[in-house]
Subunit: 339 residues, 2 copies
DNA sequence: TTTTTCTCCGCAAAGCTTTGCGAAAACCTT
DNA sequence: AAGGTTTTCGCAAAGCTTTGCGGAGAAAAA
């Protein structure tokens, strides 16, 4: 059950003074005499008094909670971002309530409603894969509830957001492939309505263009973000009469699925087919061959998202600032052909 | 800023009735006439009223929050367990506040204190690697604050806990190695004071014994759970004049670190050295060769931990039940020698 | 008509904290 | 000694909900 926490009332009774006196003493109010203050503080210390956050919340109308909605909590990508959010939240005396939409619009809407009921003071969210309707977020904006997006954003909503420069990173990868002798570079993308898919597509096309490579639309395939669908997409590429000599996968799951499938069909990486993905260091190193990838600044992304959140909570409805994080290319064996 | 939420008072004023009437109507109290009830409910619906959890919490002396402390939030292992906890917490109308100890005792203690200040109703925790002192938990027990452990537990504390049968799983792995012709099986363990390290050590010794293999203490090495230290431990094994022909790594990080190091030194897996680890499916499949491992029932573990928590919150101080989850061996290429 | 019995609703307290304002006591000033 | 200041503290309200108890009015019984 847990014994009741000690309250100001308890202290006041024990000392035979009023609650207000105790409250003031604890915050060094000049109205209270030094001796009284000292006595009260000593008892508070001894009894291990800490103010009741519910009472404070009720009074100040704030819960010090941030609702965080991610598509999936079980990946390093999101858990690392969450760590970043949590760090700066803690610095501000806030804590975060995490929910997962499981890439489902329905669960995302449900999460927003539940968190509102819990009286979170605002939201930090990464859109689900399915999300193509935004009324649940528009409602938040109308009610001036702070909202910031990260990674996946909506073009339709003007909301503070932190993004990674996937367009530039993708271009770098294409150029890197080209410099290593690749001519037919494939791109396995995610759902088309996702901003990150489209950004990287632009980077892909720009990269091809700058390298003087033609755009073959057969080399651009889409998949939802499951490992099975990604393998399917890879097989589609490998069935082409005119096969790709390089594949770029839009995220962790896709890159690894592609790697598995390519190896399974007997192609050598990187000599037959070069490979690159969007992922973090640990996974890239563990696979064989080590995967060339871009280093997504996940922790930093979480920090920046939280910073944006506190800006908007402090300055009221903020200028819907967008932050673009640079992404670096990290070349490993999977894309450096030996012959 | 966020507009103020609607309260019973608002509804009462608008309807010209008392707050108590509104409150009762909303919960179908027989004292309120049907027409009045209907009118009130209609307005509540229209104004989108939801009860204020802070006020409720203050009244009932409960926050509906569970403090969860994990050594590390950035791994699939823990995030999957957290998902399990979160699922059953949500079913009970609770939400969870997650903090990471970063494998540090100091941060673990700090987390306990902060969560207590936040008035969580209890704790679900996995001990940090460093934890060898338990006063911060004894304090909880003394105050009858619900506490349940998972995976890593303390022998000194009698607390409800959910464990995985690492002893049995390790024995199975040793037997599997033996059946595949391995004679010198090494075990890279974690810190000695961790119950999971010791359990698996027992399984290791039992396994050797049952297979009629001698125990060579040089084949049992320890490391802390960092990737660098695990590589170091692997190198130590590979430097032996009488090298191992199989290596079992106690967790994800260790197994992968060993794999990297073994390959780096030019040994073939599994033909020169077989490998097996404790990890989850996704990672095991992605590496090359696919890693033989035991399937840690992470999600289930989280669910069971939360169940234990609610048992102890409902029945007061519960019978400190322990739940042992079975672990299955999943054989993949890394341990099946071809010659 | 008077008394009894329901029906339907409001008062107030409790849970905890902060803070404006009022008040008692002590001190100082002429 | 009398009026003025200062020091030191308490009352009460607000923030929101639940719930025991009491009360007003109406309907039913006598």
């Amino acid at each position: 059950m847990g014994k009741r926490h000690i309250s100001l009332k308890d202290l006041a009774q024990e000392l035979g003074v009023s609650i207000s006196t105790v409250s003031r003493a604890l915050k060094n109010h000049p109205d209270i005499s030094p001796e009284m203050t000292k006595k009260i503080k000593a008892l508070a210390e001894e009894r291990n008094y800490t103010p009741n956050p519910l009472a404070m919340g009720l009074l100040r109308q704030q819960t010090k909670m941030i609702g965080v909605i991610v598509p999936d909590i079980n990946t390093h990508f999101y858990s690392s971002i969450i760590s970043g959010i949590e760090k700066v939240a803690k610095e501000h005396g806030y804590f975060i309530v995490i929910t997962s939409s499981n890439e489902s619009l329905e669960k995302e809407i449900e999460s927003v409603e539940n968190l509102i009921k819990s009286r979170v003071e605002g939201f930090i969210v990464c859109l689900s894969q399915e999300t193509n309707s935004y009324t649940h977020f528009e409602k938040l904006i109308k009610n001036e509830i702070p909202l910031v997006f990260f990674d996946r954003v909506s073009e339709e909503l003007d909301v503070p957001a932190v993004l990674a420069d996937g367009q530039d990173a993708t271009k770098k990868i294409i150029q890197h492939f080209y410099n290593n002798g690749c001519k037919r570079i494939a791109y396995i993308s995610g759902p088309e309505h996702l901003n990150i898919s489209e950004n990287r597509k632009i980077g892909y096309l720009n990269g091809l263009n700058e390298c003087g490579l033609p755009y073959d639309k057969k080399l651009l395939v889409h998949c939802n973000l499951s490992i099975e669908d990604a393998k399917q997409a890879t097989r589609k590429l490998l069935r082409l009469k005119n096969k790709p000599d390089a594949i770029f996968g839009m995220n962790d799951t896709i890159a690894f699925a592609a790697m598995i499938e390519v190896k399974k069909q007997g192609y050598k990486i990187p000599d037959d087919i070069s490979l690159a993905g969007f992922t973090d260091e640990f996974h890239s190193i563990v696979v064989d061959p080590p995967l060339t990838s871009v280093s997504h600044p996940t922790f930093k992304m979480g920090e920046e998202a939280a910073n944006l959140f506190f800006e908007s909570i402090e300055k009221g409805t903020a200028n819907n600032k967008k932050i673009m994080l640079p992404i670096d290319l990290v070349v490993r064996e999977s894309s450096v052909k030996k012959n």
